[in-house]
């Protein structure tokens, strides 16, 4: 369809193209806040896909990692008056800490049982946060994560301005994407794939499968925690729903929708899902009907996900 040298050019300049895309993206969206949401959920889905797509482990508890990041960031800022960068750092570390806790318990199970153990443990995290009203605001959610201006490199940036807020979030998301792509391209990334493809052989080659899985889960927690922290800063609140199991379900669906076998697939899935939900809900209250039908159609006709199908089409 497309001239092959065009495709090759795109491939060679994919970093430049990605950056260019991130710059024009908010101008293409119906409003800036949803562009930021797409970036955040895109990052969340990518972090999740490290377990699912790369390692082949379906986690149904990633809401806990995302939520831990959001709450760690929010609590640092609301209760300890931490600066914004400490909030982001705290969120990332918070995601990793919860991932280490859940991972330590869950990593010995596999398949559908891994999904269920992570679900159960993340629900326990949800109920803990629900009860710890003094710290989390309980069912009302954590309010007051208010950043009006942020100081960076000697400049004070107006964080309330929608476009500025987008570019600040985009900067962190781009950074995270870069780090993630480096991890996947590293020898560790190769081990992850080896474990997914053939566990016994990976073990025979001398790799500690369980430790590899644990490491991947913690790293995944870092990316999801960062996404959570960015969400807390973006929305200025942390809803308790962030930790609910439906958030875990949402990210699974986003990854599958976009294509879990590709790097950008989950990101595309997040974008398409949020956009579809937003656009359809503007003209009908029965948006769930259309979103549901879109899912069914995707599964039946685009089993590799949207991005996976596009890449396939290009490969032909």
């Amino acid at each position: 369809m497309l001239p092959p040298n065009f495709v090759a050019t795109c491939k060679r300049h994919r970093v430049v193209l990605s950056i260019a895309f991130l710059i024009v993206f908010p101008l293409l969206m119906p409003f800036k806040a949803i562009a930021v949401n797409i970036l955040i959920y895109g990052l969340f889905a990518l972090g999740f896909n490290l377990m699912f797509g790369t390692l082949g482990l379906l986690s149904f508890g990633h809401a806990a990692l995302f939520g831990a990041g959001a709450y760690a960031c929010g609590i640092a800022i609301v209760h300890f008056g931490a600066p914004w960068w400490a909030g982001i750092l705290g969120g990332t570390l918070g995601g990793m800490a919860i991932a280490a806790l859940i991972g330590a318990l869950a990593i010995r199970t596999r398949g559908i049982y891994f999904a269920m153990v992570t679900l159960a443990l993340s629900q326990c995290v949800y109920f803990l946060a629900y009860q710890a009203t003094a710290w989390t605001g309980g069912e009302n959610g954590l309010r007051g994560v208010e950043l009006s201006r942020i100081a960076a490199f000697g400049h004070s940036i107006n964080f309330v301005d929608p476009l500025t807020r987008y570019y600040v979030v985009a900067f962190f998301v781009a950074l995270a994407l870069f780090i993630l792509s480096r991890i996947l391209a590293s020898p560790f990334g190769a081990v992850l794939e080896a474990v997914r493809e053939n566990e016994a052989r990976a073990r025979a080659c001398g790799y500690d499968v369980r430790a590899t899985r644990f490491m991947a889960f913690v790293i995944s927690g870092g990316f999801c925690g960062l996404a959570g922290a960015l969400q807390a800063l973006h929305l200025s609140i942390v809803p308790i729903e962030t930790l609910y199991y439906q958030t875990s379900g949402l990210v699974v669906m986003m990854a599958l929708l976009g294509g879990m076998g590709t790097f950008f697939g989950p990101f595309v899935g997040a974008g398409v899902f949020l956009l579809l939900e937003n656009l359809v809900s503007l003209w009908t209250v029965h948006w769930q009907l259309f979103v549901g039908a879109a899912f069914v159609a995707c599964v039946l006709f685009f089993p590799r996900g949207i991005w996976g199908t596009l890449l396939m089409g290009r490969a032909k």
């Binding site: 609140i237 962030t242 029965h286």
Partner: protein
């Protein structure tokens, strides 16, 4: 008045004219219409209530526009679906403020959603008038100068219902609350009202939000033989718990009391649903018999909505938007600071009798109606409640501004 208005308009026109040259797009968008954002949960379990809120809010907009608007400037309602989700509500509020450049926001149908909207709005200096119940929104640290609360507070509601119930049905009480802000704040209100009356709390039980089976709690409540069982839960939780309490035969010995009886649930669930249950409401259309403003509002609603009558939560949609527009009219401006000043201490009677916005916390001081479900002698299909008593508007019944943390 008219003179002042003309002066204002000419100054505004001048101002607009000069700034059109500078930044045309923004000013035109802000100046032509008065935009009011209205996030409500159109999808989800409270879709019926939310749609009625929109219908009622449109009446307030139409009234304002038919009266000539603000010197010819018309009001416009921008409805958004918050899906009953605080994250979605925050995103939608950002959209309304950043993209649609609304001047004001009214709406919300749950505690967590209104606090989310409030947080986003107050950071950007946009006036928000909440139309669902919460004690926290009028208290620090959530409250801000631009935060208004048109709905009743749980403290007020529970206090009114409690005073009526403890006086008439007995002092031995079991509380069963949904374990979230609404339930907790309601129980605090009941306890505050009950303490001076000497009530005896036999048990204070909690159930998680969205519980579908109360059978595990009911045998224990039954064995305590209370005079009154207070069910501090809402919507589906309330319907199911009342139904199951009835199945367990609790009504034979115990009076069931709920802080809020929803008109829409009663209409959907039928007469048996709330049979013999006492509760409170912010509005019931039947008060029109002796409240002229209610009659006027009901008639407007009937005309616009095929002769149906407004629901309690729907009416709050009307009141929430109307109070903002009353403030705009009084201030003669859409400038937030001026409208805030105009709304503080505002006395009005828009649909349920005299109300006043308390200056210190922007809470609307209002009456509470004590109602019971009707199962016979109904004049028409909408005649579903009897008003037993009216707890008159009185600032004494609210939490004091000092308790709420205001200086």
């Amino acid at each position: 008045m008219s003179h002042a208005m003309t002066a204002q308009i000419s100054r505004r026109t001048l101002l607009a004219a000069s700034s059109v040259l500078a930044m045309p797009a923004i000013v035109r968008a802000q100046d032509s219409t008065i935009k009011i954002g209205f996030p409500v949960p159109l999808t989800g379990p409270y879709g019926t209530e939310a749609k009625d809120q929109v219908a009622c809010a449109q009446i307030a907009i139409a009234e304002f526009n038919e009266a000539g608007g603000l010197g010819g400037r018309k009001a416009e309602l921008l409805v958004r679906d918050d899906k009953l989700d605080p994250g979605e509500a925050a995103t939608r509020t950002l959209e309304l403020i950043e993209n649609d450049r609304v001047s004001f926001i009214a709406g919300s149908l749950s505690a967590s959603v209104q606090l989310a909207i409030n947080n986003v709005a107050k950071q950007r200096g946009i006036l928000f008038n909440s139309i669902s119940q919460s004690d926290q929104i009028v208290a620090l640290p959530d409250w801000s100068k631009t935060t208004f609360h048109e709905a009743m507070t749980p403290y007020l509601t529970a206090g009114a219902v409690g005073r009526y119930a403890f006086k008439n049905f007995g002092k031995k009480v079991v509380f069963l609350r949904a374990d979230y802000a609404y339930g907790n704040e309601m129980i605090d209100g009941f306890k505050a009202a009950g303490a001076p009356m000497g009530i005896e709390v036999l048990a204070d039980l909690r159930h998680p939000l969205g519980t579908t089976d109360y059978s595990t709690l009911l045998p224990r409540i039954q064995s305590l033989k209370p005079d009154i069982l207070v069910l501090a839960n809402f919507g589906r939780d309330q319907q199911i718990s009342i139904k199951q309490a009835t199945d367990f035969g609790l009504k034979k010995t115990t009076k069931i009391v709920a802080p809020i009886l929803l008109y829409t649930s009663r209409l959907a669930a039928g007469a048996q649903a709330f049979e013999g249950v006492i509760g409170g409401t912010s509005y019931y259309w039947g008060i029109e018999a002796n409240t002229p403003s209610a009659k006027a509002f009901n008639d407007k609603y009937r005309k616009a909505n095929e002769n149906r009558v407004p629901s309690d939560y729907g009416a709050l949609g009307y009141a929430g938007v109307r109070s903002i527009l009353a403030g705009v009219t009084r201030a003669g401006s859409t400038d937030t600071a001026k409208v805030v000043a105009a709304m503080e201490g505002l006395k009005y009677d828009s649909y349920k009798g005299a109300q006043e916005i308390r200056s210190c916390d922007h809470q609307s001081v209002q009456s509470v109606f004590i109602i019971e479900s009707k199962s016979k002698d109904m004049a028409n299909q909408y005649d579903v409640f009897n008003v037993l008593a009216t707890d008159a508007a009185n600032a004494e019944n609210l939490r004091s501004c000092k308790d709420e943390g205001h200086a």
